[in-house]
């Protein structure tokens, strides 16, 4: 029994090495970072919204939507903004904004100045909901299907190319299905 106890460290270590060996020789590409949330249900959240009502994951149900994290202090968000406007006005895609670590007055000024592509804007002043979605910065965009599952995660500002070749085909497919 006593001997067994003293052999425990080396036994654990052998398991560890076997595991490292498998990791080493499996030959998979560790650089592919899929968003862990893709094909998962939308994290539940409840935020006050800019129009003094509320925004929660229930508002997204039953339609194909985009959830876009942005902030007034974020310059790439300004760059992305015209694309979102086009999506909302020409393609009629429902977009819900979440203002990440932003003050209400600043968010108001942002959409007043540039126009709002958003159906509703949730105010995530503490950045809590951002954590739930696992974002690493702003802007980031999620495509959510009718059942409320996340289907795509864009971890950077959208580009016109992505819009045409990936995002819109996906939205149309989800809307049909």
């Amino acid at each position: 029994m006593r001997r067994l106890l003293y052999s425990l460290p080396v036994a654990l270590f052998v398991v560890l090495v076997a595991y490292f060996g498998v990791a080493l020789f499996s030959g998979r590409d560790p650089h592919a970072i899929p968003s862990p949330l893709v094909s998962e249900p939308t994290p539940s959240f409840e935020l006050a919204s800019l129009d003094a009502s509320a925004l929660s994951q229930e508002a997204l149900q039953g339609q194909v939507t985009l959830v876009n994290f942005f902030a007034s202090w974020c310059l790439p968000c300004r760059a992305e903004h015209p694309l979102l406007m086009r999506l909302a006005e020409q393609e009629h895609v429902p977009i819900y904004g979440i203002a990440y670590k932003d003050k209400k007055a600043d968010t108001e000024r942002f959409v007043a100045g540039l126009g709002s592509p958003y159906r509703r804007i949730g105010l995530d002043e503490q950045g809590r909901v951002g954590v739930e979605f696992g974002i690493t910065g702003v802007p980031e965009t999620f495509v959510i299907d009718k059942a409320g599952r996340i289907r795509r995660h864009y971890g950077a500002p959208l580009t016109a190319d992505q819009l045409r070749n990936d995002l819109l085909p996906l939205i149309h497919e989800l809307a049909r299905g």
Binding site: Y6, P9, V10, F13, Y19, S26, P36, W73
Partner: protein
């Protein structure tokens, strides 16, 4: 030519290391003094050879010899001299040379200062060091040759990653490596003791200074890394539970446990097998830390995929070093005889608790670091483990540890009086009560846990102070008597007090960060940004040029209640060679709080994103770490390590008792 000589020196060092790994070991088994004595000369010879190779590499960097592939890939002629030198270890191959250089330094130190060690123990310790050295020199020569030539030589180099061009980071790796590699000595002592089958008080007394020295260096190294992250990354965080950080924290935690358990072996001859295991684990974790993280096994397996030869070698090396020593442990440790018995409530008991909590904490960090890969390997989702996991597992383990820190030193050896110890801590209880009342008053509805953390810091702080006061009878005896006692108190005791005070200071800094304020806004020159009672006035943003970068530098005047307090200059640098921006934050500190300002992007219409933070007590985090390291150094200067009193009694011989 010099590069070739450097390469040649490494080959010779490998041959010497192989010699050192075998002959003294055989000599110790055969009791052949000549064979054993070889170890000292080979250890010194290795230092000379590896120093030469290291100097040759630095020479190639300083003279910008781009015919050396490593220099071409990591340096540039326009780089400031400091970063040419430090760039030598800012890459995989160079850092490996630094690693074996420090290993050679440790080996030579054992050979040089180990005059009071019994010849057999010294020969075995140095032989184990030789084995480690052989492994790593072979690794360098076979897979990571820093002296490889390029033909034809390029005109100029690719430059060092701008993020690494920073004084804080330039000296962070040497300290970290001093810590990691320094633990190799404790490891070698442990393996030598297993081979000999003997662990006693004298052994612990020899191991402890080495552990202490490595621990001090690692403490400073970790603190420097965290300080660097704090002031360069631009969002004011100082610890991210990133795999690379965790890799340095694990050996620190287990090394701290080792530091404490070695005391029990030294004073009471108990916990022997446990201490030996800790010595092996500390260095094993250092190895895993340096290599698995560097090669990317923990963050990603990418580096392994790029160079499978390197990855395979590392794995093999880890397998031999760690697997070999743990197997030896499994076979030999059961034969080590246990020593003194003690009651659960005693100094030993408190140190066991310390050890259990520290190693469990290290285990949770280990699990949190590796779990994402375990999960993926077993077909689970790709995930990352961050603050929520560590907040819920690591923090609760630290709470009882910190509570015990104040009590432990007040308990007697063998059997302690917990009630008595707590009674003597009544002032600490009072301090806790004051902090809680004050904190609740200040933070009504605010972060409760932070108040608790501050109270805990006060508890640890007062505990350390009271224990010290008691030792010197401050206030209970005439001042002259206290002074006399303070002078005669071993420096190790002063060192412990200082290190525990440092722990309290760091803890206070961590707890108080919950009260930080944060502002991120677009500001136009001439406008103000208000934070925590300060007004930040953006005067202008100007273009300036540096040696190998251009920068946008803001001038911000800070006023409080109408009085100008400081002028701050956050910068956004751009390195054209690498096409890479870095930020240089401006920090105004009054040691009680930091005002932290980072300059972001321009909005193209004259406005600039400014991130401003007010961070109470944050400088204390690093101040505390410095206290801890100073405490360790003070303890290291203790008389009983400096003077060779500890003479091991030869087997069978009878010698009068020795002590200090």
């Amino acid at each position: 030519m010099i590069a070739e000589l450097g390469h040649f020196a490494l080959i010779l060092a490998l041959l010497l290391a192989l010699l050192q790994a075998t002959v003294p070991l055989l000599g110790a088994a055969r009791r052949d003094l000549g064979w054993m004595a070889l170890s000292r000369r080979t250890a010194l010879g290795q230092l000379v050879l590896v120093s030469f190779a290291f100097a040759a590499l630095i020479h190639a960097y300083v003279t910008s010899d781009f015919s050396v592939a490593n220099v071409f890939e990591n340096s540039h002629s326009a780089k400031p001299l400091l970063y040419k030198v430090t760039g030598a270890w800012g890459n995989h191959e160079g850092s490996m040379v630094l690693w074996v250089f420090i290993l050679a330094l440790c080996g030579a130190a054992v050979a040089g200062f180990g005059g009071n060690l019994p010849a057999e123990l010294r020969a075995r310790v140095l032989a184990v060091q030789g084995m480690i050295g052989s492994g790593f020199l072979l690794f360098i020569l076979l897979t990571s040759d820093p002296f490889q030539r390029l033909m034809p030589a390029p005109f100029d180099g690719r430059g060092l990653n701008p993020v690494l061009q920073d004084p804080g980071l330039a000296f962070h790796p040497p300290f970290l490596y001093l810590g990691y590699v320094g633990f190799s000595v404790a490891f070698s002592f442990a393996v030598a003791a297993l081979i000999e089958g003997r662990v006693d008080a004298a052994w612990a007394r020899w191991v402890r200074p080495w552990t202490l020295a490595a621990w001090c260096a690692l403490t400073i190294g970790i603190a420097m890394g965290s300080w660097w992250a704090y002031y360069t990354l631009g969002w004011g965080g100082w610890w991210f539970w990133d795999p690379v950080e965790n890799a340095s924290l694990m050996p620190w935690l287990v090394g701290t446990a080792l530091l404490h358990s070695a005391i029990v072996v030294e004073k009471r001859e108990a916990l022997k097998t446990w201490t030996v295991l800790l010595a092996i684990l500390t260095f094993s974790l250092s190895l895993i830390g340096t290599f698995l993280v560097r090669s990317g096994v923990l963050t990603s397996v990418h580096a392994f995929a790029v160079d499978p030869a390197r990855g395979t070698f590392i794995l093999l090396l880890l397998f031999v070093v760690i697997g070999g020593s743990l197997s030896l442990y499994a076979v030999r440790a059961p034969r080590l005889r246990g020593g003194g018995l003690f009651a659960p409530i005693s100094r030993e008991g408190a140190l066991v608790l310390n050890n259990l909590l520290l190693t469990t904490a290290a285990a949770t960090v280990f699990l949190g670091t590796l779990y994402p890969l375990f999960s993926e390997e077993l077909g689970g989702p790709k995930l990352s483990v961050g603050f929520p996991f560590f907040d819920r597992t690591f923090a609760p383990l630290m709470v009882p540890l910190l509570m015990a820190v104040a009590v432990g030193p007040l308990l007697a050896w063998k059997r302690g009086d917990l009630l008595g110890a707590l009674q003597r801590l009544w002032l600490a209880f009072a301090a806790v009560a004051v902090v809680i009342l004050f904190g609740v008053y200040l933070a009504r509805g605010g972060p409760v846990l932070a108040v608790f953390g501050l109270a805990l810091a006060a508890w640890v702080f007062m505990g350390a102070v009271l224990e010290w006061m008691e030792r010197v009878k401050l206030g209970r005896a005439p001042m002259s008597e206290s002074w006399r006692r303070a002078r005669h108190l071993p420096r190790a005791a002063h060192g412990m007090t200082l290190a525990h005070l440092g722990l309290a200071v760091t803890l206070a800094g961590i707890a108080a960060s919950a009260w930080q304020e944060e502002r991120i806004e677009i500001v136009h020159p001439g406008q103000d940004l208000a934070i925590a009672g300060y007004t930040l006035h953006l005067d202008e943003v100007a273009q300036v040029a540096g040696a190998n970068f251009t920068a946008d530098r803001a001038r911000i005047t800070v006023t409080k209640a109408g009085k100008t307090i400081a002028e701050m200059h956050p910068e956004k640098r751009f390195f054209p060679l690498q096409q890479m921006p870095t930020s240089v934050t401006a920090i105004h500190s009054n040691l009680l709080a930091d005002l932290y300002v980072a300059l972001g992007d321009s909005d193209g219409a004259g406005g600039w994103t400014i991130r401003a933070y007010w961070k109470p007590l944050v400088p204390w985090i690093w101040m505390g770490a410095v206290f801890m390291a100073l405490g360790g150094l003070l303890s290291l200067s203790d008389r009983r390590w400096r003077i060779g009193i500890a003479v091991r009694v030869p087997r069978g011989a009878r010698v009068a008792g020795v002590g200090d």
